[in-house]
Amino acid sequence: MKLGYPKDGKFGEFGGRFIPETLVPAVEELEEAYLRFKDDKEFKQELDYYLREYAGRPTPLYFAKNLTESVGGAKIYLKREDLLHGGAHKINNTLGQGLLAKRMKKKRIIAETGAGQHGVATAMACAALGLQSEVYMGYKDTQRQSLNVFRMKLLGSKVHQVKEGTQTLKDAINEAIRDWITNVNATYYLLGSAVGPHPYPVMVRDFQSVIGNEILSQMKELKNKSPDSVVACVGGGSNAIGTFYPLVEGDTTMFGVEAGGEGIKTERHSATLSSGSKGILHGMLTYLLQDKYGQIKDTHSIAAGLDYPGVGPEHSYFKDSKRVKYDTVSDGDAVHAFLELSRHEGIIPALESSHAVAYAIKLAKKMSKSETVVVTLSGRGDKDVEMVEKYMSENVKNSR
């Protein structure tokens, strides 16, 4: 079940390396560097140092007492990735890859971003490590996450608005890949999710596994056992794979929550694993949202970070092998959970993470009070407050 480092980049039939030839030497160079440094003592020490002193690890595993009481079921714990520097789990990966890029002597870093969290985390890591960064972001996303655009600029990053296609994360990745093809020799592509050609899905998973490893040891200390259930939201799936992977061989029940948008029976959602089919996009074989001819579909979610028609290949593997259960939460239920957690616990979650919170509330209700549910709170919701306000006012209008 636990695949470690798959040599050909395959998780069962998923993953692989479907890329233009120009990128082959670049991913081979990356893989070689990653294999060389991933277990290197000095590299690990330096990464640990930055994760601790700069990003603020370890993050707390907080018992959400008020929410638990209001739900009246299993004990709900929050893995507080939202407390990390920058406000999301993305920094775990950008520090790891940033340090790797430095060892590869690459000075120019490019990245894609959806909600802007990975873009901000890239800009921060690059500023701290003395690297130059440029971030591709869909035009639609720059409009709905304008705060993050400004943050990236403040942090010294150049932001490219992508006006092609659907103007969201998918198109930002396309443009970043095109940039990489053009500037392949001097540029490091710092991919933010557990997607793309091998070795990205493995590498991002490894850098994010600090989440699951901490959950394990913190739960052990609290309860002397693994959590009964864990819940994480899945767009590309980096916080989820980081949560799940260290727990895969135990008996924890695991849930990945996709964006149900306006309902998976409609065309307006991003529920790739729940309603997609297998295909090839962005260098990997994985589940995709596509039409009957194989053209990639437009997706929707209130959470920009989940608005993606593909998913990390290891999630596709966990879906087919049934190790993880994937389900959906709608825009409306996510907003409801956003409000619940804010009111009950004084914690404003990112809309992405709110999907996981909504699912955990439903799940905890059905479980006994002696059981535990851990929710990975992948990011904080400051970036989303305007969006939620707008959503609420529109839906009040609609219900009149």
């Binding site: 050909d8 692989g16 233009p20 030839e21 396309n174 001819y293 194989g294």
Partner: protein, 269 residues
């Protein structure tokens, strides 16, 4: 021997090189594609590369991206593509090469997709996102259907890898001339492109033709890469640009004369 291989040996016997010219299915319209191919043939194209648009063409620059987007908006799909190919095949025996992305084949199933396009008249396939490591199943089906799989190499491809790619390829090998996506607007190729052509030729030898594409915009460029040793020039975005900027009534005439100017460069004086 395939139509593509036959064409290269026929040209060689005349001491000519090949012009491979591109049309996108459904751009500017289904009928328009057929007329454009007619004009390309009339202008002297030796092989036609016909694009089936994909929603996420990540090896393509803005010209092919926007043509893909517009063709898809007008409803281009594999079924309509087949009708276009059948129509072209009923009029000409010229080799036809399909250029698209791996997902459109994977989605339908390699077997079904490839045997269907073969029946319609396609002779070879180019997939810019199909790396040889992932190609076993695809190649089995290609060979079963007696078609050519044309793989790409790049200026940064190692010699050892060029050898492996050549082994997997038939028809010709496609050298990406530059670091970049399709449709670059440079007027002259840099030295590294010429070096890559020389190196690839040395490895491929006489039996496997080398086509060079990406950013071939004019006859001077074509002449320079043919002079360095390419067996074929591949021109795509430049034709689409011409279609974009020309009034409908004049398109066919312009395409014929642009194709002629390129074809001229492939004939030794």
């Amino acid at each position: 021997m395939s139509r593509i291989q036959d064409k290269f040996s026929e040209l060689k016997s005349r001491n000519e090189r090949a012009l491979i010219a591109y049309a996108m299915a459904g751009y500017p319209s289904d009928k328009g594609t057929v007329s454009i191919v007619r004009s390309l043939v009339k202008g002297g194209a030796d092989i036609i590369e016909i694009g089936l648009p994909f929603s996420d063409p990540l090896a393509d620059g803005p010209v092919i991206q926007s043509a893909s987007f517009r063709a898809l908006q007008k409803g281009m799909n594999p079924e309509r593509f087949l009708n276009i190919v059948k129509k072209i095949r009923s009029e000409t025996d010229i080799p036809l090469v399909l250029m698209t992305y791996a997902n459109l084949l994977y989605n339908r199933g390699y077997d079904k997709f490839i045997s269907t396009v073969k029946k319609a008249g396609i002779d070879g396939i180019i997939l810019p996102d199909m790396a040889i490591e992932e190609a076993d199943q695809y190649l089995d089906v290609i060979h079963k259907n007696n078609m050519d799989a044309i793989f790409l190499i790049s200026p940064n491809t190692s010699n050892e890898r060029i050898r492996r790619i050549a082994k997997a390829s038939s028809g010709f090998v496609y050298l990406v001339s530059v670091y970049g996506t399709t449709g670059g607007t440079q007027q002259k190729f840099q030295q590294y492109t010429h070096d890559a052509i020389k190196n690839a030729k040395k490895i491929l030898g006489e039996k496997m033709p080398l086509g060079v594409g990406f950013g071939v915009n004019n006859a001077d460029q074509a002449r320079s890469i043919l002079h360095t040793g390419a067996d074929a020039i591949i021109v795509a975005s430049a034709f689409l640009r011409l279609i974009d900027k020309t009034s409908k009534a004049k398109i066919q005439g312009k395409i014929v004369s642009f194709a002629k100017s390129l074809k001229k460069t492939t004939i030794s004086e």
